[in-house]
Symmetry: none
């Protein structure tokens, strides 16, 4: 299993590109600059006010341009939001995955992957919250979100099946269903921890490492992996 990970947030870039929501980049330098300003402003405003409460005029004001200019680059709020997600994904896609050698024991690999996932989530927490919100509103983004999740679920399912083959995991559980459950557990926890709790649970700060450690142990336990520690 290469990564523990998230059914709800990553691996979407390829699917993004396929979306009808993205168009060609502007030709001129000036155009690129304006587009970037709009994307930066959009992210800022969305994160501040939420997707629904954001009016296009809020974005253009933040970007110091007119409302007419907006339509030179984006056809709608959805489109700029898709562009923002795509922009952010470059960061999301390089979560600094730990170098994993074949010798590392499976439990360590799981923990390392979960940690990398949490760290990437942390950097984009507000945006992840926005995606969650928009996915509830716009089916297009719901699909997008689902697509990402499925990529992770599939990857983790393969990892689980691999462990079963190597006799390191409970052979009776269905790898795919198990992956759905455990991937969901991790991503939901990240959402609750960073988006809802803003780094806390019930108002008491719990170190991220402890959360990741507990999740990883539960993950390993759930698979009935041999105890290593």
């Amino acid at each position: 299993m290469e990564r523990s990970a998230d059914p709800d947030s990553e691996g979407a870039l390829p699917s993004m590109a396929r979306t009808s929501l993205l168009r060609d980049l502007p030709a001129t330098q000036r155009g690129l600059r304006t587009r970037d300003a709009l994307i930066a402003a959009g992210r800022k405003v969305f994160e501040r006010m939420g997707y629904l409460d954001t009016r296009l005029i809020d974005i253009t004001q933040e970007a110091h341009c007119s409302s007419g200019t907006f339509y030179t680059y984006f056809a709608s709020k959805e489109e700029i939001f898709a562009a923002i997600l795509e922009h952010a994904q470059e960061d999301m896609m390089h979560p600094g995955m730990p170098h994993v050698t074949g010798e590392d024991d499976p439990a360590s690999i799981i923990e390392a992957a979960n940690l990398a996932y949490f760290e990437a989530y942390k950097r984009n927490a507000k945006l992840m919250g926005l995606l969650e919100q928009v996915a509830q509103i716009d089916p297009e983004f719901s699909k997008l979100r689902q697509h990402r999740a499925d990529a992770f679920i599939g990857r983790n399912a393969r990892g689980i099946a691999d462990l079963q083959r190597r006799g390191l995991a409970d052979p009776e559980i269905d790898p795919m269903l198990t992956s759905r459950a455990l991937s969901g557990m991790v991503s939901r926890m990240a959402f609750n921890y960073f988006v809802i709790g803003d780094g806390e649970f019930d108002g008491s700060r719990i170190p991220m490492e402890e959360v990741v450690h507990t999740l990883s142990r539960l993950w390993a336990n759930a698979l009935r992996m041999p105890v290593t520690s």
Copy 2:
């Protein structure tokens, strides 16, 4: 552990009653009938069109009354939605908990509780989806949802601690954090299964019992409960 359950959906009735969103019931029979008609119509329309796309006029038309009448009973869309939730909760609160005798082994209890939870979820799947949507939009309902979740998490945490005390669960894991993770796993799975997948995963129908069974087994494994089967 009396119930396995859901951090996101149940046990909210008491907190609902406290909500500022609810007002006194109408005095006359006729008034009660109209109010009930509005609530039924509201649920129907919300489930059909989603919260945001529903206009008050859609509800009043479905309820065969004028828009003015709506305001006799509710001050806003939020208020009728809160009333709809409260109305549905009576069902949600009696999920037909299985009779559990002291002799039942813990794993069976967990599975029975998870099954009851899934069955209750199924009956109100569309509404649960709506709540998820509204919670992303309206902080009032986010709080409500959180409140419910916390009740379940707390209950499950006590169950986990109990098992630890009886030497039936991994003593090293934190009960509260573990409960957060596993409760989230179950409720998220129910959401994906019923709301997103509409009883399917990836377009292929998987029996609910199988989902519940896998979740329960993962739950038991995660706690390192002794294998029973």
Copy 3:
């Protein structure tokens, strides 16, 4: 001159009766009681919230009756307001006029009349303010107000002409025009003092007697009446 007086507030009862806004009194005792309750409640609410901001439901609630009942007695907000004015007029019509003997000097008579006028105004200040407001809104009440004013203006004009005939007042001024000016001066002052200033001018309390005295002196001066004091 019998009274100094007001072009804006008194002497309207007869004209009121002619108004289309008043209907027959209810037949039964119970009906009379309800009507009185509505009138009392109406005055209270109008004085508290102003004419425009008062909704009929505010009045019926204050009167502890249903909105349907209102229409048993009044056809509209205007009608109840007319009834309230009529009700109050009985007080306005008996302002406790000082006994004036033929021997009193004219200046004293003027001052006594002005004082009586101010005292009556004071007792009904809020209502006078309301009338002023409603007269600006509803031509029916503007006419009513004008009618009252004219009665006073006419009376005072006759007083002025009488003084001219007796050689006690500037013979060059037109009695009617003069009466308009001086009556307006007094009534406007009362309005500013009681309604706008709430018994003050510029936030500093000035005794009513002083105001009345100044007005009376100006009145006498304006007519070039022989100095008596």
Copy 4:
């Protein structure tokens, strides 16, 4: 005393500017034109239909623009009314004051000032009537109106005190209270003559000059100024 004048209508421009009801002017020429069109249309419609009966749509229709455009320039009916007043004030502030030399006798000065006041009032009679109406409805405008009045009252009070000092006026009367009374007399008369009577009293046309002359004579008499004519 430079001007006799009105406690209810002039001298408000500075205070207007301070009002929260006014915002920045539009940037472009086109914007200014539209704003001006709205102000002109607003005045026209207000004068035709009265403040309360005017709907925003009446104004935008008169100005040949959409209702959305209205909100580009004004946030409410109050705001456009404030702008209309401010616009009109430039005229109200230059009532063509007569040139007064030091040699003119006080009575002539009073009469000239009163005449100028009446002429300015005449040009803006409908608007003055509106202000009277709105002041009864909206405390913001009541304050505004009061502010203007106070400016005049203060000015006239200083004029009266000056006459007293020069031995030309009854030393026993309080200048401020007297100014309140006489200023009110004049402004009320102007209101009755132009707004209520539309240039008449009781349906018979009386020349404005006669009204002004009578008021001026009463003013001089009231102060016991030496007879000049």
